[in-house]
C-alpha cells in the first residue's frame, strides 16, 4: 500500500569536504521546520542525518541524501559511493571506529554515529558492499497532525 509522496528533496555530499560537513543536515532541518513537522521528530531526524553526512564526508567519495515525506512517514536515505563496510555488526558496535586524525580533530571518531542513528530512528536499515558503497534508510513515523495541508 504505497501512499503519495508529499515532498521530496535531494542533497549532494562530497567526500573529504570537512568544512561544509553538516550543511545538508542543516538545510534538511530548516525544510522540516517550515513544513511544520513535530519538533522532536525534526531533532531526531536532523541528528541522524548529520551523523550520516559526517560519515559520508569521512569514509566515502560522494553521497546523496534524499528526503521523502509521505502523509504517514518521513523516509531519509543516504547512499554513497566509497569503500563500503565489511562487517556491519562490528561497525554498529558503540566504540568501533576507523576514524582518521582529520575527523578526530573535528570532535568525531568515537564510534557512536551509527548506534546514535539507530537510537533516533523509528526504523533503521543499513546495507553495504565493500568497494562500492553504503546505503542507509531511516524512517520516522508521523501521525497525520504532523503535516500541515
Amino acid at each position: 500500500m504505497d501512499s503519495e509522496v508529499v515532498f521530496k528533496q535531494e542533497f549532494e555530499i562530497n567526500g573529504g569536504d570537512f568544512v561544509n560537513a553538516g550543511e545538508s543536515a542543516s538545510k534538511l532541518k530548516n525544510i522540516l521546520k517550515e513544513i511544520g513537522i513535530d519538533t522532536d521528530i525534526i531533532r531526531r531526524l536532523a541528528i541522524a542525518a548529520y551523523e550520516a553526512e559526517v560519515n559520508v564526508v569521512t569514509y566515502a567519495r560522494h553521497g546523496i541524501m534524499r528526503i521523502l515525506i509521505y502523509p504517514e512517514k518521513i523516509l531519509l536515505t543516504v547512499e554513497d559511493e566509497g569503500q563500503g563496510i565489511k562487517d556491519i555488526d562490528l561497525a554498529m558496535q558503540p566504540g568501533y571506529s576507523t576514524a582518521t586524525d582529520e575527523i578526530r580533530e573535528m570532535g568525531f571518531g568515537a564510534g557512536l554515529g551509527l548506534p546514535n542513528m539507530k537510537k533516533n530512528a523509528d526504523i533503521f536499515n543499513i546495507s553495504s558492499t565493500v568497494d562500492k558503497g553504503t546505503k542507509l534508510e531511516i524512517t520516522m513515523n508521523l501521525n497525520d497532525k504532523n503535516v500541515r495541508d
Binding site: V19, G22, Y50, E105, F108, L112, G113
Partner: protein, 121 residues
C-alpha cells in the same frame, strides 16, 4: 539563568565574540565536552555548551541538537568562519580564558545544572 548573568558569573574572564548576540536567552542546563559524537548522543535542546574545540563542527552540532549558546574555554579563539557560521545560525558564542574545569565549577556553583544521563541497563 540568563546568558548575560552567566557572563557576569565569569567576571572579566569572558568575552562575547559575535555581534548583536541575544544575551537574554534563558539557560538552565550545560554540557561540557570536546567530543561532538558524545554531544550528538546526549545533548538536550536549550543547553549551553562549554568546549575547547574550535571548528565549524561545533556550531553545526549546536544547530542540529538545539544547543542555545557556546563558551569556548582556555582562550581558544575559533576562526572567523566559525564565528560567521554561529552568527548565521543565531547562536551566541563567547570566549573565556578560564579552563574547562574552572568554568564548569563556577557555573555549577551558581546553579547551572547538568543533564543526568539515564543508564540504558
Amino acid at each position: 539563568m540568563k546568558l548575560k548573568e552567566i557572563i557576569k558569573c565569569l567576571n572579566l574572564n569572558c568575552k562575547v565574540l559575535c555581534e548583536d548576540p541575544n544575551l537574554d536567552i534563558d539557560i538552565e542546563f550545560a554540557i561540557a565536552s570536546d567530543l561532538m559524537s558524545d554531544i550528538l548522543a546526549t545533548a538536550k535542546p536549550g543547553e549551553l555548551l562549554l568546549t575547547g574545540l574550535v571548528h565549524n563542527s561545533v556550531i553545526r552540532t549546536c544547530e542540529i541538537t538545539g544547543i542555545n549558546a557556546v563558551i569556548f574555554v582556555r582562550n581558544k579563539k575559533p576562526p572567523d568562519e566559525t564565528i560567521k557560521l554561529a552568527k548565521n545560525c543565531k547562536i551566541p558564542v563567547l570566549l573565556t580564558d578560564l579552563t574547562m574545569f574552572e568554568t564548569c565549577g563556577i557555573l555549577f556553583s551558581k546553579g547551572l545544572k547538568g543533564i543526568h544521563i539515564e543508564r540504558a541497563d
